[in-house]
Amino acid sequence: MAQLTYLEAISDALRVAMDEDERVILLGEDIGVHGGAFKVTDGLLARFGADRVIDTPISEEAIVGGAVGAAIVGMRPVCEMQFADFVACAFDQIVNVAGKLHYRLGLAAPIVVRLPSGGGFSGGPYHSQSPEAWFLHSPGLKVLAPSSAEDAKGLLLAAIADPNPVLFLEHKNLYRRVRGEVPEGSYETPFTARTVREGDDLVVIAYGAMVHTALEAIGQLPDASIRLLDLRSLAPLDEDAILTAVRDCSKVVIVDEANYTCALGAQVSSLIAERAFEHLEGPIVRVATPDVPIPFAPALERAVLPSVERIRDACDELLAY
């Protein structure tokens, strides 16, 4: 086991996958010589060459469409959107081509699209978005969002091995902030939720960077027994883990860094209302970013992204309900 940052764990996953399987190629903007805007692919060009680490023009549709083409003739392409925000430019290829290919034609499209996502560092409206909900609504796509270094590597390796299109949300604000023990070599993390912390008074359901924000919030409520569930996989959604946690705890706070309306939390809330209503001892509480673009100025950004204080207060109020 090595101590790696979240970013190093992702780089390691790419290196391991490329070492093991020559079908794995990387496509993206500035990923070669420059090593990527965040340096996730640093060193991979030197190790694997320009045929497998491909610097592309600024053409997100061509990156994802090209990946689909390579995938359906036997390759395992991993694309990088320089920022998750730019996936909007590739939306058509992801939703209309990749996501529907197997249902329509029985043809698998094993591609991974890496999305450096999320805010918290004054990236402004176009470098801070959490676009996962756009894809959760669209059939045929898997959507992953690791919160730890170990899961980042294991989920990325599992995504590359999966025969379906997978969107991999890697939170930019975790890249160098989060560090942990990461197994060496190859291993796959299942597309299921993980209990980060046990408890039975209340469960906080979160994913990505919000797992860490929630953990800090829970730490400020030492008298309560609060469970924390890290979803890890948003599609498929681990419904059993969610329902079990709600049955055990009876109170639930759902945290999204994404904008409130139709965020994953809305789906989780709906699931609980439909299938665990009788186990609830209070309203389902949601904490999310309001329906605004992510502003640049630190004071404004802090005012919209779910904070430790907002999550703590939401838990506190619900515990007293």
Binding site: I54, S59, G65, A70, V73, N96, H102, R104, P163, N164
Partner: protein, 318 residues
């Protein structure tokens, strides 16, 4: 070409009888482009046909029976009832079914060609698209990416005068084939109604692609002889324009050539009619799609199977 036209004529008839659900689109007058292009491909060269390219499916080996079953939404058809009329392709034969957003298959073709180049395989990828598609960003992204990577791709523009009701004059000022030079790519125009000319142009493009000389844009100039679909009476097309192009019907043109060579075309025509009749009877007798299958197969649950190898009937490949 005869089979292409005969199957579509049967499709029109079945549609009018209410047996084909949804809408129906045909490629009357454009048979030479897709047939000529597909004939020039090797067995391992995937093709991405457009809506008026039934002939490309046939050349690759898709059976008339499977196509008619597909029109009728039968599970034994090419898309198991999941796709309508023109959005289909038999992946096991190397035919990639299009989507409605155009030209989305161009970047996909670039990706296939890129894989062939990386693996050092003597294969190329061919995508067909219309004049309207040249206005979309994907067209430019694919042209540029293909040229930058110098991949073995062939882009065939079916320049058929109209994108639904919009004439080419409202689509572009510069003929798209001239844009090829701006991307650093060879651009060639060809009579899209002359199957032998299309074949030869694509054959040369394939030869260049396999020799490492990169992608080619081919503008096959033709005319859409029917409306966009059967729901469209195409009243915006001047009748004299259609009359002029009717004289250049690709099947009539090729028929004349073959008769001069002593080929018994009437016998071929009779054979096609029997084949389409039989296929229709068989397709109509097939069971309808089972509603229980509507939610299955969204995801692949087994090892991905790549596009397969199709037929390559040209004698040069035998």
């Amino acid at each position: 070409m005869l089979l292409h036209r005969a199957i579509e004529e049967r499709g029109v008839s079945l549609y009018k009888q209410g047996k084909v659900p949804g809408s129906f689109y045909d490629g009357r007058g454009q048979e030479a482009t897709c047939v000529g292009a597909a004939f020039a491909l090797g067995p391992g060269d995937p093709v991405c046909p457009l809506i008026r390219d039934l002939g490309a499916h046939l050349v690759k080996g898709t059976s008339p029976r499977a196509i008619l079953a597909h029109y009728l939404g039968r599970p034994a058809g090419v898309s198991a009832g999941r796709e309508g009329n023109v959005h289909f392709g038999d992946a096991s034969l190397g035919v990639l079914g299009m989507v409605s957003m155009l030209p989305d298959m161009m970047p996909v073709a670039v990706g296939m060609a890129l894989a062939f180049k990386l693996r050092g395989e003597a294969r190329c990828a061919l995508a067909l698209f219309g004049d309207g598609a040249t206005s979309v960003g994907d067209w430019h992204e694919a042209m540029n990416f293909a040229a930058v990577q110098n991949v073995p791709a062939i882009f065939v523009l079916e320049n058929n005068g109209y994108a639904y009701s919009t004439p080419s004059s409202r689509q572009f000022v510069v003929n798209p084939v001239e844009r090829a030079a701006a991307y650093g790519m060879l651009g060639v125009s060809v009579d899209g109604n002359d199957v032998e000319a299309v074949f030869e142009t694509v054959r040369q493009a394939r030869e260049r692609a396999l020799a490492g000389a990169g992608p080619t844009l081919i503008s096959a100039d033709t005319m859409r002889m029917h409306g966009h679909g059967l729901h469209d009476d195409a009243r915006y097309v001047p009748p004299e324009q259609l009359a002029e192009w009717e004289k250049r019907d690709p099947i009539k043109l090729q028929r004349k050539r073959l008769v001069a060579l002593g080929v018994d075309v009437a016998e071929i025509e009779a054979g096609v009619a029997i084949e389409v009749d039989q296929a229709t009877t068989e397709a109509l007798a097939m069971p309808l799609a089972d509603p229980a299958t509507a939610t299955t197969g969204v995801f692949s649950t087994s090892e991905a199977i790549p596009l397969g190898i199709g037929l390559a009937p040209w004698s040069g490949f035998r």
